[in-house]
Amino acid sequence: MTAGLAGRAVCDEPLSWETMVAYWLGDLPEQDEWKAEEHYLGCQQCADQLFRLAGVAAALRAWHRSGRGQVVVTEAALAALRAAGQQLLELRLTAGQTPNQPFPPEIDFVVARLAGDLAAVERLDLELSSGDGLPFYSVRDAPFDPASGEVLVLCERHLAASHSTLLFRLHLHRAYGSVSTADYLVSA
C-alpha cells in the first residue's frame, strides 16, 4: 500500500479474492487474519471489495434459508426452516411403497425422508418426477450423510401438490462401478 501523507492511499497490493473469501469464512490462520484486517482497515479499495463479498454472503445465507437454495438438505437446514416459522410436512418413505398423503394448504414445504442403506454408497444422484417417470428435476452427486440411513429431499408445497404422484428416484453408486436404483413414491 502506498500511503503518502499528502495524497489518498492507493492500494498497490490488494488482498486477493481468495484471501478475502477465506477471511470471511474464518478459514485464514490467525496471523494472516490479523494482516488482512490491518490491511482493509486502512484501505478503502479492499474494504469495498470485502463489502461486496459480505453482501453476496448475506444474500446467499438468506436465499438458502428461504428454502429455495437446496433440494437435498440436512437436518440443520430443516431446523433452520422450522426456527424461521416455516411449516414442514415430513414423510418417511420406504422404497417400493406408495403411501397416500394429502398436502394441506397451510404447509410450506414437504420433506421426503428416503430411507435406505447408504453405508457403502460413494455417490448419489436424485431424480424427481411425476408419476410418468419423466424427471423434472435432478441433482447429480448430491451430498449426503452415509451414516444417517436417509436422504432428505425438500420440495415447496406448490411443487409437490401440482403432481398427483411424486417419484423420487435415487441412483446409488457403489464401489467398482456398481449402480442400483431405488424408487420412492407418494400419491397426493
Partner: protein, 206 residues
C-alpha cells in the same frame, strides 16, 4: 468527553479537499486543529465516514450480528477520536493498526460482558450513528437465482455448506469427497463467478 467535541451528524459531506487526502493526513490535521473548530468537526466526520464501514466489516465478520457490528462502530470511533484529541496516537500512519487493536479489544471486552460499552453508548452513541446506506449492499434475489443457476451443482452444494451450514473446509471436503485444497479453490472461484455475474446484471439490466 464533552458531547460538543464530537462530529455532528448534519455535516454529511466534507469539503472535497478532505475527501482526496490520506487517512494519515487527516489525522495529522485533526491533531493540530483547535478543538471544537469547524475544521476539527469536518476532519473528524470525514475520518468517521471512512472508518465506519471498515469497522462494520470487522464487526460483521467477528460478531455475525448487524446490531452488534453497529455498536462496535460507534464505540471504536469514539475511542479513536478521544485518543487523537488527547494527543496519545503516536504515529498517524499507524491509524489502521490502532483501529484494529481497538476493534479486537472491544470485541474481546464485549465477549466478557463488559458493562462500559453500554454506558458509553447510552451517553454518546447516537452521535456517531452510522448511515443506513453503509449496510452490505442488498442483492436482488431474482438475479442471485439466475446467477446461481450458472454454477455447477457441486459449486451450489459447496456454497450451501459454506454459507448456510457454515461448515469448515475440512467438513465440506468430507461431504463432497474432495480435498480441502480443492474445496478452497472451488469456493473462491464460485464466489468470484457469482460476484461477476451479479455485477454484470446490475450494469446491463439482466
Amino acid at each position: 468527553v464533552g458531547t460538543t467535541d464530537l462530529p455532528e451528524r448534519t455535516a454529511l459531506h466534507p469539503p472535497p479537499a478532505l475527501e482526496t487526502q490520506s487517512d494519515a493526513h487527516l489525522v495529522v490535521q485533526l491533531l493540530a486543529a483547535p478543538t471544537g473548530s469547524v475544521l476539527a468537526q469536518a476532519l473528524a466526520h470525514e475520518l468517521c465516514r471512512r472508518f465506519a464501514p471498515r469497522i462494520r466489516l470487522f464487526g460483521l465478520r467477528h460478531l455475525r450480528d448487524g446490531d452488534a457490528a453497529e455498536d462496535l462502530v460507534q464505540e471504536v470511533l469514539l475511542i479513536f477520536l478521544e485518543t487523537v484529541r488527547a494527543g496519545t496516537l503516536r504515529d498517524p500512519a499507524q491509524t489502521p493498526s490502532f483501529i484494529l487493536g481497538t476493534c479486537r479489544n472491544v470485541v474481546w471486552n464485549r465477549r466478557r460482558g463488559d458493562q462500559r460499552r453500554r454506558r458509553i453508548l447510552e451517553r454518546y452513541g447516537w452521535q456517531l450513528l452510522p448511515d443506513a446506506e453503509e449496510a452490505p449492499e442488498p442483492v436482488d434475489v431474482g438475479a442471485l437465482t439466475k446467477c446461481l443457476a450458472r454454477l455447477s451443482e457441486r459449486e451450489r452444494h459447496l456454497l450451501y455448506f459454506s454459507f448456510d451450514e457454515e461448515l469448515p473446509a475440512r467438513a465440506i471436503a468430507e461431504r463432497l469427497r474432495v480435498t480441502e485444497t480443492h474445496v478452497r479453490v472451488l469456493r473462491h472461484r464460485a464466489l468470484g463467478q457469482l460476484r461477476d455475474c451479479l455485477a454484470l446484471g446490475r450494469t446491463d439490466g439482466r
